[in-house]
Amino acid sequence: MSADIRVPMSRLERRARLLLRAYPPQYRADRGEEILGTLLEASAEGARRPGLRDSWSILAGGIRARGDRNRAAGLAASLRLAVIVGMALYLAKVAGSWLDSANLRAHLVIVRAPTGSWSQYAHGLHWSPLVLWYSLGAIALLAANVGAWAGLRFLTIPAAFAAIVLQAWALSGGPSSVLAAISSHAFDLAVLTSLLPVVASLVVLVVLTRRTGRPPLTWLALPALPVVLFAVQQVVTGGKAGFQLMFELPTAATVNAESLSVVALLAGIAALAWAITDTRPALGVGLFLAVTELAPLGTTLQTERNMRWSLPALWHHSGPEFGAFFVGLALTSAMTLLLARRTGPRATIH
C-alpha cells in the first residue's frame, strides 16, 4: 500500500483500525486497508466513531474470518484447542475451589456437591497437585499448538495459568508441601470421570462442526447463556444470589489479596477467551459450564437410587442452574440444527 501524503489519523480512523483487529492478522494484512477505506466512506460526515451497525458487522466478520481460518487448521488442531479450553476451565475451577477451601474468603464458590467425592474439593491441600498437573498439561499442549497462533497473544494463556498456579502454590505453603502431597496422594478417579464428559462433549462438538460447517456466530449463543442466566438470577434474587458455578462478586469493595485473586482469575479467563479465535471452544465453554452441573448430579444419582427421573426432581437436586443450563443447551442445540438445515454447509475461506 502506498500513501502519497501522510495525513494525521482522525479519531474515526483510529477507532476503525481498532475494530479491524477483530480480523485475523493475515486477513488484516491482505484486506485491512481496503475494508478500512470502505468503512470510512460509509461513515457519516464528521462522525468520530464508526456506526453501530458497521461496528457490529466488523466484529461479526472478524469472528467469522477467524472461524473459517481455524476450520481450515484441521481436525487434530481443533481437538487440541478444544481440550485445552476444557482443561483451562477445569483448572480455573479447581484453583478457585482450592482458594476457597484455604479459607481465604476468596469469593470463589465451588460447584455444589451434594454427596460423593466432589465434596473433597472443599477441603484439600491434597488437591493442589492437580492444579499443578493440569496446568503443566495445559501448558504442554499449548506449546504443541504454538504453530497455530502468531504473535504474543498465545503467551497470555500460559501466563494466566502460571499466575493461577503460582498463586495457589504459594498459598499452599510452598513447593515442599506440594511435593509431599504428590507423593502421598494418587489421582482420584473421580477427577478423571468428571473431566471425561467435558472432553467428550468438546470432541463431539468439534466433530459435528467439522461435518456441518455451521456459521460460527450461531454457536456463540450457548456460551452467552450462562451470562444471561446469571443476570436473570441476579435480577430475580435482587442481587443476593452468588453465581454458584464459577464465582460470586465480592461484597466488599476493598482491594485485598482475595479480590486480586478474583481479578487475576477473571483476567486469565478473559485472556483465554481472547486468545481463542474459534467459536467452537467458546461453545465448549458453554458445554463445560453445563456439564459440570451434570457431574455432581451423577454422584447424586448413584447415591440416591430411588430418585425419580423427572425434570422437577433433577431441578430439585441440582438446583435451578442445572435445569436452566440443560434447557438452554437443548434450545440452542435445536436452534443450531434448524439453522444448519436451512443454510447448509459453507465454503471454507482462507
Partner: protein, 121 residues
Amino acid sequence: MMSCMASPPMREPTYYVLAALLAGPLHGYAIIQQAADLSGGRVRLATGTLYTALDRLTAEGLVELVGEETVNGRLRRSYGLTGPGASALRAEAQRMAEAAALVISPSDSPATSLIRNPRTT
C-alpha cells in the same frame, strides 16, 4: 440431513450485491450504494457484511477481483461478476419472477391453471 436441490435460494443481500455488479465492476462502497439504490433503500449493507459476502461469493466463483488502485492513499479493490455469477443471478431472478407470477398474474401461471384444473387419477 438436508435435501439438496441445485442451489439453495439466494439471500436478499447476496442477490443485491450481485445485481449491483451487473452494470460493471465496482469497489466496496460503490457496491453498498448501488445495492441500496436498486433495492429502494431496503438493503443497506454494513461494511463487515459486505466483505463477508464478497469473500463467500469469491470462494464460490460468482465474483472475482477485477482491479486495484490507490485512491487518497488508500487501497481500493474493484469486484466484478463472473460468468457463473451472472448465470446464478439470472437463475435467481427467474425463480423469483415465477414465484411472483403466481400472485401477480395468476391467469398466466401454469401452476394456477393446475390448481383450477386438478388432474384426477
